[in-house]
């Protein structure tokens, strides 16, 4: 069932031009709606990463490499994973609740009687929007996280790495390959969030209680699948 839904969703990608308003609405909800929280989270993650790692490196006098460590961590791991978890909590749950409510209150049946395929009308725009919005959010989070790390590295006396040195090491360490690997993860995680949200929503039954359970289930399932996918993607792209 979950694979069938994925296949149908991908099949309906060709219908995207006629669903542009819906896709833009989802992009706005997912992208613009998540942007401030993602920025705040990335900024603090970058700062904590620099603070923890920088003070330890300083014990051995190797704190100059802090820029490379923060950059690689944000690009390859923390940026994609933290953003995907945030989107799963904020957007995946909302997708499951919205589609679940539509299922419970017969709106999905109404779509079918109007000869409108619910997968094309509901799942495809959400999936496409997630595939586009999550990588964009990840790029944004990486930039903010790196800036946060640079700020802490330069102003913390125990680390004391100038911004120029921080960014010099960062640029040296990160190539197109690292960025590609990070964005590949972002695309896969975005797909997982949308697919799980829609699948759980379509499977919802049992009134308000069922909708509540669907919301929780969507978040938990997306979190687990993101972590599992992260492991395998890391293995594959090592």
């Amino acid at each position: 069932m979950i694979a069938k839904l994925l296949g149908q969703t991908i099949f309906f990608f060709k219908e995207a031009p006629r669903n542009l308003p819906s896709i833009f609405k989802q992009l706005s909800d997912i992208g613009i709606g998540t942007l401030p929280i993602a920025a705040l989270m990335a900024f603090f993650v970058g700062m904590v990463l620099a603070l923890q790692t920088g003070t330890q490196l300083a014990l051995y006098g190797t704190q100059e490499v802090i820029g490379a460590i923060v950059g690689l961590s944000m690009v390859k791991e923390l940026g994609p994973v933290m953003t995907a978890l945030l989107v799963a909590g904020r957007v995946g749950s909302s997708m499951a609740a919205e589609i679940g409510a539509m299922k419970v209150y017969e709106e999905i049946d109404a779509l079918k009687t109007l000869e409108i395929d619910p997968v094309r009308y509901l799942a495809m725009p959400r999936m496409l929007a997630c595939l586009l919005a999550v990588p964009a959010l990840v790029i944004f989070s990486i930039i903010i996280g790196v800036l946060g790390g640079g700020l802490i590295s330069s102003v913390t006396p125990a680390i004391n790495v100038p911004l120029s040195v921080y960014f010099e090491n960062l640029v040296r360490a990160i190539g197109y390959e690292e960025i590609f690997k990070g964005l590949l993860k972002a695309v896969v995680f975005g797909g997982i969030v949308a697919h799980v949200g829609c699948y759980v929503g379509f499977k919802t039954s049992g009134g308000a209680r069922g909708i509540g359970q669907a919301t929780t289930r969507a978040v938990v399932l997306a979190f687990i699948l993101i972590m599992v996918a992260d492991y395998f993607l890391t293995r594959l792209t090592l």
Binding site: P21, E106, E107, D109, A110, K112, T113, L114, E115, I116
Partner: protein, 293 residues
């Protein structure tokens, strides 16, 4: 009312509306008088329905037991009976939301489930008014009514807007296009659901408990809307209800369903005069008082 109409038109011409649904007319011909719908959007003609030996179980629960029924084209037919006897399940089979364990449903002598398996397209249009109205909360009243037309692209945008206005007028909701569904009362939601169904120009329209959760006055208004439609539009209507007054007033014929079986079919007069003890009990409890008290 005039102000409401003006406000509606102003909103209709807003930039966002144009972005979402396109520009209604050309620069030189703003009303686009020549805009016509495709041949797929023909006038409704009503369909014959024949149900033969229909059975459906959910687990151990045998909900529909050997249902046999004939409904003629253009007829308003009600299926009455107590709650939980399988009326709505039967309705969902007719619109293919459920598939039977055994038996067949013929619409204009086409086996609808055989056609569904073959993937052949239907040459009739059907529509259903759900018990919960099932309006889409994220859409306005006008967008709900015009959803099928816009999705199927059977008409140009200017014509779609005219159809939305016409269908809302038919159900007494002229000028309400821009309201959101959350701003509507229960009765208004039902009427919007009917307008949304009518926008398809359906040959067959099904009403699932249309008076559920409505007060008697609103039920009467809804009955008047359906009676007016009966005069204005030629289509086959099937009403599932346990509201006997409603069903008797609107229907050409009725069928009583009890414990998953059709136990009687006839005109309102024949049903009223029936000697069947289940019908007598149902009529007594729903029109006169509490059985045994």
């Amino acid at each position: 009312m005039a102000t409401e109409k003006e406000n509606g038109r102003k909103k209709e011409n807003s930039v966002m509306d144009k972005v979402l649904h396109g520009f209604p007319g050309s620069f030189f011909d703003p009303e686009d008088q020549g805009a016509e719908c495709s041949a797929d959007y023909s006038e409704p003609h009503g369909v014959d329905i024949r149900i033969v030996g229909l059975n459906k179980s959910f687990g151990e629960n045998h909900v529909l037991k050997d249902i046999n029924l004939e409904i003629k084209a253009g007829e308003t037919f009600s299926i009455i009976g107590p709650s939980g006897t399988g009326k709505s399940v039967l309705l969902k089979h007719i619109v293919k939301l459920e598939a039977p364990d055994s038996g067949r449903i013929y619409i204009d002598e086409h086996d609808i489930f055989a056609e569904m398996k073959r993937g052949t397209s239907r040459d009739y249009r059907y529509s259903m008014v759900f018990q919960t109205s099932a309006l889409f909360n994220s859409l306005s009243v006008g967008e709900n009514v015009g959803l099928w037309l816009r999705e199927k692209r059977v008409c140009p945008e200017v014509r779609i807007r005219r159809i939305i206005r016409d269908k809302l007028r038919l159900v007494g909701l002229q000028g309400k296009e821009d309201l959101m569904t959350s701003e509507l009362s229960g009765g208004m939601k039902k009427r919007v659901a009917i307008a949304r169904s009518l926008a398809m120009n359906p040959d067959l329209i099904l009403y699932d408990e249309p008076t559920a959760e409505l007060d008697p006055v609103t039920s009467d208004e809804l009955a008047r809307v359906i009676m007016d439609l009966k005069k204005e539009v030629s289509l086959t209507s099937i009403i599932v209800s346990h509201d006997l007054n409603f069903a008797f007033h609107l229907s050409d014929r009725l069928a009583m369903i009890h414990d998953g079986r059709i136990i009687e079919t006839g005109t309102p007069e024949q049903i009223r005069a029936s000697d069947n003890p289940h019908i007598k009990k149902f009529l007594y409890t729903t029109t006169k008082g509490i059985s045994g008290v």
